[in-house]
Amino acid sequence: MSTKTLGFDLDSAWRLHPQVSVRPERFGALLYHFGTRRLSFLKSPALLTVVSSLDSEPSARAACAVAGIGAAELPVYARALATLAASQMICRKTTQ
C-alpha cells in the first residue's frame, strides 16, 4: 500500500473507477474491476451507500454524510475508502 493511501483525502472529489462494476449483496456489495481483474467487497450496506454516492457528491466526506456516517465512525470509513483507492476501485475525479 502506498503512503498516499495511509491518509485518505476525504475532502477531495472521488468516483467509482469507470471499469468497476458493483453488485449489491445482503452483506454490502461485491466489486469487480475489469481492468485489474480483481474482486473486492463492501462489508456493509452503509459503505455501499457511500461508494454509490461518490459520483454525485463533491467530496468523499459529503458522500459519507449522505450515508449518515457520524464523526465517530468517519475514520473507519476513510480507511475502507483508502483500501478501495489502493486497489483502484475508486479514483479521484480529476485523474480520469
Binding site: Q19, S21, R23, P24, E25, R26, F27, L30, Y32, F34, G35, R37, R38, L39, S40, F41, K43
Partner: protein, 412 residues
C-alpha cells in the same frame, strides 16, 4: 481474489444473489482426449444450447450482474459461434475468461484478444515438458499450447493464464512451469486434480502423493498471490496457514456450472445427477435455478462435519472437496481423499471404490484414447486403461460428426 475477513466467508457460505464465479462449458466437443477430462468431453452433444439460447443466458447473467464467466468445455473455441458469443457477452458487460488448449489461437486471434479488457485467456498445460504434458493431454498438445502462448505474447497480451492441473507426474515441475509463465509474461494457475469425469479412471495413478502435496503447499505459500489456485486447494489449509483465497467449498454458494446442454450443477467437478440443480431451459431460466433450487438451498445451510468434526484441522479444511469425496466413494461428511492428516487414505482403504458413483455423462471420443507412456508401463498400456475401455461402450448418439472435421491446426 483477496479476502481476509472470516465473517465475509461466513456470509458466502449462505449463498449470494448471483455466483461470483460461474463456469460455463459451451460444448462437449474437443479435439483432444485428455485422460483426466473433468467433463468426459470429446463429442458434441446434439442437445447443446443454440446460439440464441446462449445469448438468452448471457442476457440473464447481465441482469444478475455476474461480472464474468469462465468458459470451458470441451474445447469452447471449436463452436462455430464462439467468437460471436464472446462478443455478445462483453458487449453486455459480462467478462469472459476462457480455457483453451490453444488450437484456435492464431496470431490474428491473439491480436484480437489482446485488444479487449473484458477477455482473459487460460491455456491448459499439464506438463512443463512435452513428455509429461502429452502423456496426459495427447501427442502434440504441448506444441499447440506453446505456439498459442507465443502468439499471445507476441500480440502483447500480458497476464494471460497458464492453467496446470497438478499431478504426480508434473508436481516436480512447479519451478519449470513458473519459468514458462515468466517467459511469456503470463500468470501461473495451479489447480487440483479431481476424480471427476474421466479423471475418475486415472485418479489413483495421477493424484499427487502425500509428500508431493506437502511440497506443493510450501511452494504455493512461498509464491503467495502471484500464483493462482482457483481456491482449489483449500483442503491443504489443514497443514496450518490458509492459502490466499476464500478457503471454502463454493459449490452452489458462490460457484456453479452450466454444462453444454444447459444443465446447472453445483460445481464444475460434480457432473452427476446428485448435484444437478436444474436446467437453464426451465421456465425460471438460470436465475430461477440459482435462487430456487432445493439442492442449492441445502448446500447453503450449515454443513455437518460428520466424522471430521472432532479433528483439530476441521475449521481450516472444512472437510475438503465434496466432488473428490463423492467420486472416490467416500461419505460427503467424512474426510477428503487427500486429507493432509491421512484420514482420507485410511478411509479409502476400506471404501467400496467399485461402488463409487460414476459421472453421469460420457461424451468421450469412441476411438482409442490418447496413448500414454511415462516410461513405467512396459506393456504400453495407459492410465486406467481397463476402466476406460468399459466406459467407451456408450450408446450411439444422434450426432457424432466431429466439429473439427477438415480442420488442421496451423503448422509450425
Amino acid at each position: 481474489m483477496t479476502v481476509t475477513a472470516p465473517s465475509l466467508v461466513q456470509e458466502f457460505r449462505f449463498g449470494l444473489e448471483a455466483p461470483i464465479c460461474l463456469t460455463w462449458e459451451l460444448t462437449y466437443a474437443c479435439n483432444l482426449s485428455c485422460v483426466h477430462c473433468l467433463s468426459s468431453s470429446g463429442r458434441r452433444d446434439p442437445a447443446e444450447l443454440t446460439t440464441a439460447e446462449c445469448k438468452r443466458v448471457i442476457d440473464e447473467l447481465e441482469r444478475m450482474q455476474v461480472f464474468y464467466v469462465n468458459i470451458g468445455g470441451g474445447e469452447p473455441t471449436v463452436r462455430p459461434d464462439f467468437w460471436e458469443l464472446v462478443d455478445y457477452a462483453t458487449a453486455h458487460h459480462v467478462g469472459v475468461k476462457f480455457s483453451t488448449n490453444g488450437v484456435k489461437i492464431t496470431p490474428d486471434v491473439a491480436r484480437r484478444l489482446a485488444g479487449s479488457d473484458y477477455i482473459d485467456v487460460q491455456i491448459s498445460l499439464d506438463g512443463a515438458t512435452a513428455e509429461v504434458n502429452d502423456a496426459v493431454r495427447g501427442r502434440g498438445s504441448f506444441a499447440t499450447a506453446m505456439r498459442a502462448m507465443q502468439h499471445l505474447a507476441d500480440a502483447g497480451f500480458a497476464g494471460f493464464k497458464i492453467s496446470v492441473v497438478m499431478t504426480r507426474q508434473n508436481a516436480g515441475q512447479l519451478d519449470a512451469f513458473k519459468v514458462i509463465a515468466d517467459r511469456f509474461g503470463a500468470q501461473l494457475r495451479i489447480t487440483r486434480l479431481r476424480p471427476s469425469g474421466r479423471g475418475a479412471d486415472v485418479w489413483d495413478e495421477l493424484h499427487p502423493t502425500a509428500a508431493q502435496q506437502r511440497e506443493l503447499y510450501d511452494w504455493l505459500m512461498a509464491h503467495g498471490e502471484n500464483v493462482l489456485t482457483g481456491d482449489s486447494f483449500f483442503h491443504l489449509a489443514g497443514y496450518g496457514q490458509e492459502l490466499p483465497g476464500l478457503n471454502m467449498c463454493g459449490a452452489g454458494r458462490v460457484v456453479c456450472l452450466i454444462d453444454p446442454v444447459g444443465d446447472v450443477y453445483a460445481c464444475p467437478f460434480a457432473i452427476h445427477d446428485a448435484f444437478l440443480a436444474g436446467n437453464v431451459r426451465g421456465s425460471g431460466g438460470f436465475a430461477g435455478v440459482w435462487r430456487d433450487s432445493e439442492l442449492f438451498a441445502d448446500l447453503r445451510r450449515p454443513q455437518s462435519g460428520g466424522a471430521c468434526t472432532s479433528c483439530s484441522a476441521f475449521d481450516a479444511c472444512q472437510g475438503g472437496c465434496m466432488a473428490a469425496k463423492f467420486f472416490t466413494g467416500l461419505p460427503l461428511d467424512g474426510p477428503d481423499p487427500e486429507c493432509v492428516r491421512g484420514f482420507g487414505e485410511a478411509a479409502l482403504a476400506t471404501a467400496d471404490s467399485a461402488g463409487a458413483p460414476r459421472p453421469s455423462g460420457d461424451h468421450s471420443h469412441r476411438r482409442a484414447p490418447v496413448p500414454i507412456s511415462i516410461g513405467r508401463r512396459p506393456d504400453g498400456s495407459g492410465f486406467g486403461e481397463a476402466s476406460r475401455r468399459e466406459s467407451r461402450s456408450v450408446p450411439d448418439r444422434a450426432c457424432d460428426q466431429s466439429p473439427l472435421a477438415g480442420f488442421r491446426p496451423e503448422a509450425g
